[in-house]
Symmetry: C2
Subunit: 613 residues, 2 copies
Amino acid sequence: MSSSLFANSAFSHSTTNNVSLQSKTPFRNFLTLSIKKHYYSYANTLCIRCSINNIQRPEYIPSKISDPKYVRIFDTTLRDGEQSPGATMSTKQKLEVARQLAKLGVDIIEAGFPASSDADFEAVKLIAEEIGNDEQGYLGHVPVICGLSRCNKRDIDKAWGAVKYAKKPRIHTFIATSEIHMKYKLKMSKDEVVEKATSMVAYARSLGCDDVEFSPEDAGRSDREFLYHILGEAIKAGATTLNIPDTVGYTVPSEFGQLIADIKANTPGIENVIISTHCQNDLGLSTANTLAGACAGARQLEVTINGIGERAGNASLEEVVMALKCRGEQVLGGLYTGINTQHIIPSSKMVEEYTGLQVQPHKAIVGANAFAHESGIHQDGMLKHKDTYEIVSPEDIGLRRSNEAGIVLGKLSGRHALKSKMLELGYDIDGKELEDFFWRFKSVAEKKKKVTDDDLIALMSDEVLQPQVVWRLGDVQITCGSLGLSTATVKLINTDGQEHIACSVGTGPVDAAYKAVDLIVKVPITLLEYSMNAVTEGIDAIASTKVSIRGEDEHTVMNGSTGQTLHRTFSGTGADMDVVMSSVRAYIGALNKMLSFEKLVSRYDKPEDSVVV
Amino acid sequence: MSSSLFANSAFSHSTTNNVSLQSKTPFRNFLTLSIKKHYYSYANTLCIRCSINNIQRPEYIPSKISDPKYVRIFDTTLRDGEQSPGATMSTKQKLEVARQLAKLGVDIIEAGFPASSDADFEAVKLIAEEIGNDEQGYLGHVPVICGLSRCNKRDIDKAWGAVKYAKKPRIHTFIATSEIHMKYKLKMSKDEVVEKATSMVAYARSLGCDDVEFSPEDAGRSDREFLYHILGEAIKAGATTLNIPDTVGYTVPSEFGQLIADIKANTPGIENVIISTHCQNDLGLSTANTLAGACAGARQLEVTINGIGERAGNASLEEVVMALKCRGEQVLGGLYTGINTQHIIPSSKMVEEYTGLQVQPHKAIVGANAFAHESGIHQDGMLKHKDTYEIVSPEDIGLRRSNEAGIVLGKLSGRHALKSKMLELGYDIDGKELEDFFWRFKSVAEKKKKVTDDDLIALMSDEVLQPQVVWRLGDVQITCGSLGLSTATVKLINTDGQEHIACSVGTGPVDAAYKAVDLIVKVPITLLEYSMNAVTEGIDAIASTKVSIRGEDEHTVMNGSTGQTLHRTFSGTGADMDVVMSSVRAYIGALNKMLSFEKLVSRYDKPEDSVVV
């Protein structure tokens, strides 16, 4: 491993840098000035930022960002992750996730693919405005806000239109470079692909975006010489980060490491930019491939919380970060990140809750069983020496056992205690939201002795972070069992306050209740997935239900990585101590998400050139 | 990578081999004859077996087992996997899993830890008798049946007592070799550990077991020179496979590969045995570490289905096998396994169902979304060229989409059609089991147009593969909803045919029903986990519920890898179109498992030296 990567570039232009030290936004000005002839390194420019900001945020890791061993974490949970089947999040939920990512200390947040739908555009814009300017994150850190775009002007315009409100905006543009993709998907020659890539990178820069990332899609299967060529041209055109995706999750660590090393050795101008990895997990090797990429010279790693993403997902943030934290010093060339690992568990839970993509119990780092060996009866020696089996301590990643949690709320707790607790959990609610949430909390606290942190997060997700309400749940009444026909009566209330009541029989209580809802809502729906989990131990636990549905109308959306058009599916979450109520709440949540998406999509113009890429 | 490993040893004793070619059980006799002075390679002995058996099973891969590029798959789902919290399987379920593993073509099945409980002993013995002698597996393949034991005589006696019924029995014994474990857990000096290990390996051989595997626990953190020494001594004592566990899931691929390479280079006598890997997944690197081990010379890989196991689990069979299948030729030194990959999905589903350990949707290879990109609307070019995104085809791993499934059963299907279908799915049922299952199937088929393969597997798990029945579910009647108190009435029937009825109120229908069950069963229980999933799409899907419970009595069990004593938890599965019925069935299943375990445990003598290891 060459640890001297970027070391020279980071310090070699110190005289030039003096110019920008006077500027309020040195990073942008500096690069804008030099766009025609020089392509200074990103590491270099960040180094300048940090030397300016060091006084205000003395502890923040970016003081070390010029350090050749500092590895940037680029989180794409909101873009690649959200495109998993059923993982659609509401705008409110996306904003909460982005806020959590800022607390986690993520360097770059890929907030979405603004050209894919108006809903995505609005979410990215909101995140750029709120999170991209908020210095209240981890030690005053303001993350870069990035928007994805294919290589065409319309996409790039949309991306810039959304991210430009952030203090540090970035456009990420991509085009496929493997033979198979160029031939069958793009139907373009190599020269045409190079021309498209470079002209669009330059176009992004010309809009005033000084931070442009370029990805050659399916790099893992691309011709090596062609890859060096197109990457070199992208650098000349103004790209500041080059991202190397293993799009089909095909490579093994030694191979992917070699790819990064070869790119580093053979691409003209590579010393002035950051190399990035983006590894899919199709063979279960994404974490190892990502680390191999870092050891070979990548200084940005693209990951998602819980490793979610299309197919088998991406490298997971928690695994990559904890591997670097636990073994970086010893066996990974001293590399390190700026992540505040104590926010890992809260982030993982939030993303699991909002996307409905469950984390398996044996998932590394964040699975329910990852630390479960501790619950056994330890022999004397074991208790005293946790190191015998433990390499990551639960505290390091923000895992608190229920008996260690601070205040546990009960039915006597008031609004103030609830508000403090929610703040501690990362949710800042006020006014009507707090009032509604308080009454919801009270109804649970009446039935359950202790209301735990996990209970509150589940209720929060059900009560506050729902999409725009089209239908609100009134009452439900059920009769069921093995002896007779299950019957449900449901009352729903629309936005005008009108009450609608319907009853239906079914094969079980949930089936009956869903059919009663269908009779009222009158929209054809296919139920794709239905799952339920108890939030905590015990018979009096809250049941959290997740459903995903698909409407009959084609809610299509473009897939960011592949340009494919996909059916959009909608997930909903419900939380209640009654499994049937929880199920009905989840169903109505998903319905509301679908119905409000329809409104947004109706305003959405199809891109002219959507066939090309 | 040295691909010549074992090549010499596999063929160098051809004259000696002639002796055993005459013998009915050449493998055992051959090794027994040579035990005092020579320690011939395992590869060698297997080579003899195969040359004898080639005529009967011409296609079976072990004809290539002397091939230095052949990698053995050692599955420990039934031992390491089953020790995950809540994953306890009934003996019937274990037998079904073992049968499935044989179909999959697994080389070695670690069937359990016979000394840990009488239940485990019985299960291992049954598997040894039935699966360990059954030539009806994949192309006539009979797997090795292995039992785990700590390094003490009692454990080894128990293990041999259970596995000796198999055609190819193996004892796997282990002792910790890292400083931290020897000091705090074993409280033994290095010399004492070496003496214990070698005397116990020799003891296992002295019982007539010619196939002995030895594992230095926590090898990843053990002193290197000490490791070479103890491994060399274990070989001298008669070990035929040396397994190198990364017990704390601590190493990175380059490091673990180097460990295997160093062991191969420095351990005296290593050329005569098989090196094995056993990688935990704490940092998400187990698959990569396992492959690195193989590339460095390991020719046995220890894995589990779905990667289950303690904490973050083990390397998963499907990932390791598919990586070798997809990339072995190109980048993994031409290594290959004898696994029939078309049984991967059925195996994964069976283990998920029986253990209650859900596979996350984005799990590599076997997750629900792993191939989900196919469901989108593909552009023309994409449809014609699946290779653009697909590296593993669904057919390769036995994944059939519902519209491709062969016969789909409906309400007019008879017993014969059901029996054929179940055989096709891998379940051979007859007599009363078939009759009971048929009526269960009919009750579902009345309500659901198409009964899919997944539905049948869920019903099978609920109806046929339950533990010994202590309580049987009669009827259930429920009233619930947001308007009143939820009330449940439950009728249970005990083994004497007596009916017990109780009613209870609760916070919801499941809570009320579980409380009514508790009133009848009168055993204090803590509900640890509760989850439910729809088996297929659609509102008329079967809901499959999994619960895990813990009794108030301490159902303790020894942890195979660590020697720790753990609370035993019990899982139950229920399947019904009514979510409440499904929930009650699961609860009663878990209760029955716990109550029948109590009976077995009462006969179990605690080991004398359980404190030592």
